[in-house]
Subunit: 232 residues, 2 copies
DNA sequence: TGTACATCAGTGAACGCGCGTTCACTGATGTAC
DNA sequence: TGTACATCAGTGAACGCGCGTTCACTGATGTAC
């Protein structure tokens, strides 16, 4: 009853290292070989999320999860490094989409800051491992992963935050005289919260909404009496 | 001229994977076999600092660096995992010593907070890779390194920060009504700064001292006019 | 004083493993004539 | 309409590598008699 159907298209074992469950994936029809690229990236992301380690995202583990042989990946990525870069770039793109979707319908500057920051914190909390890897490329001088991912995409996300604080200052709701520096402070605090929350889940962390009220507003120079839009 | 003396006690190659430089280490005299334990931990820490990755701290790499054979490590650590835990515990103990030494000679509460936070930021900046690993145990559900290191030691360091902010509040220099929550905010910000500084060195980071003035004092509830001791 | 012996601080070869990557190949499917 | 062929989407075996760990061992050194 616990056996593995070899006709399943979806991997039936959640352990990417479990070789007992062989997945047979129907080959893509002609002209649709490119679909495999998406499947590979999805599988790589899932392995990252499951194991929490980029080192676990090996070509063989990805291939097992997709249900193909490892060399098939070379039809879509020249090497493992490029595949990992694509995973991280995807995550960055998703973060930026999330942020833009969150702030798009909001016009009040402080409210925009609030929904933007909350969307950021939520992304980090819901996808902690991709988030972790996005902003920490190994960090070592000679690590393979030292320059993975797109700094440009990170800069785009940061620019959204700077603009948000600038709008607050321009409308008189924030006392910030240096939106870039204050955005840096806000980012640093949100990142620290997100990363430590993931790394030390046993600590009595305040909920993300408290983080916004206690930390972000103070660092963005928004006093408590100006943190809600004026009803009129 | 570029050859490797095989009589050197100190590894002459800085590349832990370079097998061309064989180090001959004189065997410890009787009764001093325990010295090797310290050498192993020092080598492991150096590899971590050089490569920026705990995965690079392999038994073989450590053995190469010390100038012993890999199985010799088993006389001092039952397995690789235990060795890595010892590396992290050592780093924690060093951080706590650094903090205590920094604040010991200072009595003014805000000054204590200042020197303590600066010592923390300096430790993170000078030893970025051990710092990174200390507070981020893999983070994944099934990572080997998921529960490395001493949470007790981390709690001790955090308690120093809470006490510091409490002293500021008790003496009327801080408006904090919840030193634990505010210490959390300060820690989160300092961690975010330290980690991002390491992971994204290309960003125009403010110097650590500005971080204290702009971020820590604000989050600790110390207003600008109370941030220096009263001269008398 | 000499010698047998126990102990200590290690070594060297070997094991099975998973990895990235290369290479020659296969077999279904669409297309040109 | 039939068939030869090109193309596509992969496969399977093999390579050399570094790894953690086990095992039987070695050779210097201190100690008991």
């Amino acid at each position: 009853m616990n056996g593995c159907k070899v006709t399943s298209v979806i991997p039936s074992s959640s352990d990417p290292n479990d070789p007992s469950c062989i997945v047979v994936r129907p080959r893509n029809p002609r002209g649709e070989g490119g679909k495999l690229r998406g499947d590979i990236l999805a599988a790589a992301t899932e392995i990252l999320e499951t194991t929490g380690s980029l080192d676990s995202v090996t070509l063989r583990a990805v291939a097992r999860r997709v249900g193909i042989s490892a060399p098939s990946i070379y039809a879509h990525f020249p090497d493992r490094e490029t595949m990992l870069v694509a995973v991280i770039d995807d995550a960055f793109a998703e973060l930026i989409d999330t942020l833009n979707e969150a702030i798009a319908p909001v016009s009040d500057p402080v409210e925009r800051l609030r929904v933007g920051c909350r969307a950021y914190l939520r992304f980090a909390q819901q996808r902690p491992q991709p988030y972790r890897v996005m902003f920490m490329r190994g960090g070592g001088p000679d690590t393979d992963t030292a320059d993975l991912g797109g700094p440009d995409l990170g800069a785009e996300a940061f620019a959204i935050l700077v603009d948000s604080i600038k709008d607050c200052a321009d409308s008189g709701r924030s006392s910030s005289v240096d939106p870039f520096a204050d955005a840096t402070a806000v980012w640093v605090a949100m990142h620290g919260y997100s990363i430590l929350h993931t790394g030390l889940p046993g600590f009595p962390w305040p909920p993300a909404d408290d983080v916004f009220d206690r930390i972000v507003l103070r660092l963005a120079g928004v006093p408590a009496d100006l943190d809600t839009p004026v009803e009129s």
